[in-house]
Symmetry: C2
Subunit: 273 residues, 2 copies
């Protein structure tokens, strides 16, 4: 038994969908979530800058005594995961490999679609991970720049979102994919819109669910889970506006957020130094 | 529900340890096992020859109407998996990726040992797969040329085996690994010897168990399992001596083998053509 908390981070709120699945799958664990609200979004930033930010945050979480860090952000995972894994002494789980594995196991016709941000599509990491497991599978990527702003906007279930999803889904339907990797932690929020456009015949793979499964298996295999039966707690930290985090974060977490603590960027920089 | 059988192949008997775990994990499935007794061992052969043999066998199994092929041989997986996956329309599961994944999840100090044949160690594939999942993990490989002959010999639990295991384990104990990948399908047969030399503190990862888990998850995710509750059957095919297969195979399968059918090499070659 290991009572140390699990650290989870993201540039902003998207990682809260991963935390949501972890809270459901592993309710006995304690969590510390850090959103880098002061510097989001990471997507348009240079890779080495994303790596520096991720290293600061992961180092800070490690200094809080976490037993495991979850990089709950596709851009940060694509840019920084190997670097974080080499730096930290605790394990670091990213969101890409669990999803790629799930997609390879799920596809029947071995044609896999990918919806993700431009940065994640450009990294080519999903295709690499899929091909390492099934060299004969085909990955059809579509960058979806409009989705994150729509999901963070006032009307995530509006006609504009439905229209954007139809547009991004069209080339995947054309290609006849039977499995779609949703390669951004924001996308679970519009799950019904996505499932309706693709239909029941297409399997949607979400990073939040697959990453929570991976975390659960890691704790079990290492024997570092917390005692079953207890109800764990969760600390929320942000480098940005705490009121905004609490307000907007509830939509992503789909659970109440009691209090949010502010972390100064100087504290993160000090942790990386 | 999908009543087609699962195809499993190996150069000889080692893959029967994988079949054993599949039979225990998925008793409701039907299986066809093919051992290439006429051409074993694969280990010392050139890679392109192993790829040709594996393509013939996998093509032959596909012609029998299997829903999935398991390459239950580390040398064949290391040499031929991507090629098989590109050739076949049914999914092909190898023994390396499931083990690498399990080892990454299991290790606490991120130092992973590998015991395998010379060919598998030389391929470097385990280290690649481990580093794709944890760039900060260390893989310490040891080639074990004496183990397969000892395990196939008259006295697998004798002093010579124990001595060989102590010799191969020494550099891994020296390196302080806490997890050891047993990268050959023969090794489950000497599990007690291995566990005794490494001690309870070291996690041993067996290809047979991890591959059976992977097959079970694939069937479940694709919805192509056979009906639960039924007891499946198993056909045994060999290109070599059927009496030898039945006799020696029982030791690997640890279950009775009723009958063994002979397959001519010409039939395999025809399937690949």
């Amino acid at each position: 038994m290991d009572t140390r908390p699990i650290g989870v981070f993201d540039s902003g709120m998207g990682g809260l969908t991963v935390l949501h699945e972890c809270l459901v799958t592993l309710p006995q664990e304690d969590y510390v979530y850090l959103g880098d609200g002061a510097r989001l979004p990471y997507g348009p930033r240079p890779l080495d800058e994303i790596r520096r930010f991720a290293a600061e945050i992961a180092g800070y979480l490690e200094s809080l005594g976490v037993k495991l860090v979850v990089a709950a952000c596709n851009s940060a995972t694509a840019a920084a995961l190997p670097d974080l894994q080499r730096r930290l002494s605790v394990p670091v789980v990213g969101v890409l490999a669990p999803e790629a594995h799930a997609a390879v196991l799920a596809t029947r016709n071995r044609r896999i679609g990918l919806l993700a941000t431009e940065a994640t599509v450009a990294s080519g990491r999903y295709a690499e991970l899929v091909h390492a497991l099934d060299a004969g599978a085909e990955v059809v990527p579509v960058a979806c720049p409009r989705l994150v702003p729509l999901i963070e906007g006032d009307d995530p279930f509006g006609e504009e979102t439905a229209e954007a999803v139809r547009e991004y889904a069209a080339p995947l339907r054309e290609a006849g994919v039977d499995t779609v990797i949703l390669g951004c932690t924001h996308y679970p929020l519009i799950r019904p819109v996505l499932q309706r456009v693709f239909g029941r015949g297409v399997t949607l793979v979400f990073s939040a669910e697959e990453t929570a499964r991976e975390v659960a298996e890691l704790l079990e295999r290492r024997g570092i889970g917390n005692g079953e039966g207890r109800e764990g707690g969760c600390r929320f930290l942000t480098t940005g506006d705490t009121a905004l985090f609490r307000e907007m974060g509830r939509r992503f977490l789909q659970l109440p957020i009691a209090s949010v603590e502010r972390v100064e960027l100087a504290a993160l920089e000090a942790a990386a130094a």
